[in-house]
């Protein structure tokens, strides 16, 4: 068997929710443990490294703010991929993945906004400005909330999945806007200093804790996402079984 078809088979094996549940049970303890280790290392580095010569202690806010902001965008990208999976390949777990990711993404976007505000007040002298970066991230937060509301409003996943997937894909236009807002417009927010074509311009003293925290947050995201997907599968099973029970009870009543 060629490598390619093996990879496709592995991917479609995952389409079986029971297999996914078994895989999730095996994977989750490792992911959670690894995330915890990286959090210990990251937090230790965050508080033992030097402060900035201009920003002082407040530079430590960066180690939470930047990973949260990265995740807010990565989570939406995961949802956009899942939306493609729903619309193009009709992968049965794609909608589960997208639905499970929305509340997690909303939480990380909330964190990015709040910690940004708490960093902005001492450094910029203001909690909030309506510049392009801050506004586009705020729009992302509203989109997460909107998607969560939509997913709740339509009970039947079979009907909500397509509407939700189209909305996620339309909203994806916001992600490059967030990323490049600091270059396209004149913003109070600084431009990128880590993810740059010419390499990071940030001092290694700040880069290491930042990388450790970014890995920790990413591992945390995948742990929570897989666990939330498992919950969503179980929720759908409960709904299906209740419907089955109601139907068989109805049949029993008619035959009497």
């Amino acid at each position: 068997m060629s490598e390619n078809s093996l990879a496709i088979r592995k991917f479609s094996d995952l389409a079986n929710p029971t297999r996914f549940l078994a895989l999730a049970d095996r994977l989750l303890p490792w992911l959670a443990g690894l995330a915890a280790l990286f959090f210990i290392a990251g937090l230790w580095l965050s508080f033992t490294t030097e402060g900035d010569y201009q920003q002082g202690e407040t530079v430590r806010i960066m180690y939470v703010h930047v990973p949260a902001a990265w995740l807010s965008m990565m989570c939406y990208s995961v949802m956009a991929l899942a939306a493609l999976g729903t619309l193009v390949w009709r992968h049965p777990l794609a909608d589960v993945s997208s639905r499970a990711a929305a509340p997690i993404g909303a939480c990380f976007t909330f964190l990015a906004l709040v910690t940004g505000s708490l960093w902005g007040k001492p450094m910029w002298g203001t909690w909030w400005v309506w510049d392009a970066r801050l506004t586009s991230v705020f729009v992302l937060f509203l989109m997460y909330l909107g998607l969560m509301a939509l997913n709740r409003a339509i009970d039947d996943p079979a009907r909500s999945s397509k509407v939700s997937a189209v909305l996620v894909l339309v909203g994806f236009v916001n992600i490059p806007i967030i990323k490049f807002s600091v270059e396209w417009w004149n913003t109070l927010h600084q431009p990128a200093s880590v993810m740059r074509l010419d390499g990071p311009t940030i001092d290694p003293e700040f880069l290491w804790p930042l990388i450790a925290m970014a890995i920790a947050f990413t591992l945390l995201f995948f742990t929570l996402h897989i666990a939330a997907m498992r919950n969503e599968i179980l929720r759908r099973r409960v709904t299906a079984l209740r419907r089955l029970a109601a139907r068989s009870a109805g049949r029993g009543a008619r035959t009497k």
Binding site: G56, K121, L234
Partner: protein, 58 residues
Amino acid sequence: MMSHAAYVFTSYGIATLTVLGLIAWVVLDGRARRRELAELEASGIRRRSAEAASGETR
């Protein structure tokens, strides 16, 4: 006017609360769903695949 350290600790405090809240929600949601499934199963309602696996017939 708060000191710089206060801004740092407030940030980490809110981050900790949010992350712990998220973890608690995922864990409790999972437990509640498992309990519901167990209750349904106890009342004799099972998924067809689970019935086939245990060899039961109706």
